[in-house]
Amino acid sequence: MSLDMGIWVAGLVTLAILSHVWKENPFYRIAEHLYVGISAGHAVVMAWGNIRDTAVKPLAEEGQLVWIIPIVLGVLLYARYFKGVAWIARFPVAVMVGIGTGVAVRGAIHGDFVQQISATISVGSVNDILLLVFVIASLSYFFFSRTIKGPVAAIPQLGRVVLMVAFGAAFGTTVMGRMALLIGRIQFVLGDWLGVMK
């Protein structure tokens, strides 16, 4: 059994969280609230690190006055706590949403659309041909503008089956990923902490 205080704390936190599988209990709630508090604190520290390194240092050490703008916009986010001027917070939100939308749209057009089509139509093997057929079939399943009838109706039906295979694979991968984490935690409790397993 380990004599390290850190391992004891980590082991107790692990057991407390796993105990929720049985039912809601005070030990789980203690671990849960500590987890949320420490996560939020860590996020604030990381955020402060971003502000300091990206804006405050260039402003203070190199005199780059342009960084005053995002700092002021960031501070304006807190205007929402003051009733009369709460609307001012819309400006930094608009800037953030604009940046987010721009990045998302260019990623969607280039990465999720053009590059995916490009990768799909570059056929070099039987598997590539199957991939092309499956992608077309899956896309045809999302075609709702007109009811597809006759022999071609088999294409969206195939697409439906392909999508089910994709969902099944995603489910299997998710379960196995979580199982790997669970095995890791059990190994930690029985091995590193209690020392009953090598």
Binding site: A10, G37, A94, M96, I99
Partner: protein, 210 residues
């Protein structure tokens, strides 16, 4: 001004960032490239302030619970206390300090891994309740999940060499095809939603309902 100007600002910024990616690398359009770069770094700073906003909201919510001595006030004390310790130590002494490292390595990391691990139980019980193999599609989903799980576990390879090979093929061909189709559909959705926002038809991000 309170509504139209933010929509206009959002549209101009989004268009600059989109153009920045698609315009050629010519000197005449360098200002777009530069503006896109500057705006994206501004985004990091403003998002960091927004993170602080979330922390303030969390603190307000739990400080109210503590001050009113509502049920669960003890847990709120733990939350607020651990959060403040992390912030004070992290900003004051740095992330390399022993206290910060202790809390991060012995509470945050194991709690995070265990939270994700415990989801395994809920996924399996949810699947047991909802997977009813009554049609071809549900059979396909069920069999694929079983083959992929066996293919990724040592027991699958011990039973038959078929499982790892089949799992790999399923992952690489039909799974890629299905996910690719979903990704393309989602990309079109992202673009159409952006157009709605540019036209001022979707202003929910400003806290407006219509």
């Amino acid at each position: 001004m309170k509504t139209t100007l933010p929509v206009a600002i959002m549209t101009v910024i989004a268009l600059i960032i989109i153009l920045d990616f698609f315009v050629a690398d010519a000197p005449s359009v360098q200002w777009i490239k530069q503006s896109g770069l500057v705006l994206r770094s501004w985004g990091i700073v403003i998002s960091a302030f927004a993170m602080g906003l979330g922390a303030v909201n969390l603190l307000r919510r739990h400080v109210v619970t503590i001050s009113r001595r509502e049920s669960g006030a003890f847990y709120s004390v733990l939350l607020v206390g651990s959060m403040l310790i992390m912030i004070v130590v992290g900003i004051g002494a740095g992330q390399d300090s022993p206290v910060y490292d202790f809390l991060f390595s012995n509470i945050l990391s194991p709690a995070s891994a265990t939270m994700y691990a415990s989801i395994a139980f809920y996924i399996v019980t949810a699947a047991y309740r909802s997977f009813s193999a009554k049609s071809l599609e549900s059979w396909v989903l069920l069999l694929t999940a079983v083959v992929v799980m066996l293919g990724k576990a040592p027991i699958g390879a011990a039973i038959s060499g078929f499982f790892p090979v089949a799992a790999d093929w399923i992952q690489n061909i039909p799974n890629t095809a299905g996910m690719r189709a979903i990704m393309m559909g989602a990309a079109l959705g992202v673009v159409s939603n952006a157009v709605k926002m540019f036209l001022g038809l979707d202003r929910t991000y400003l806290g407006l309902r219509d």
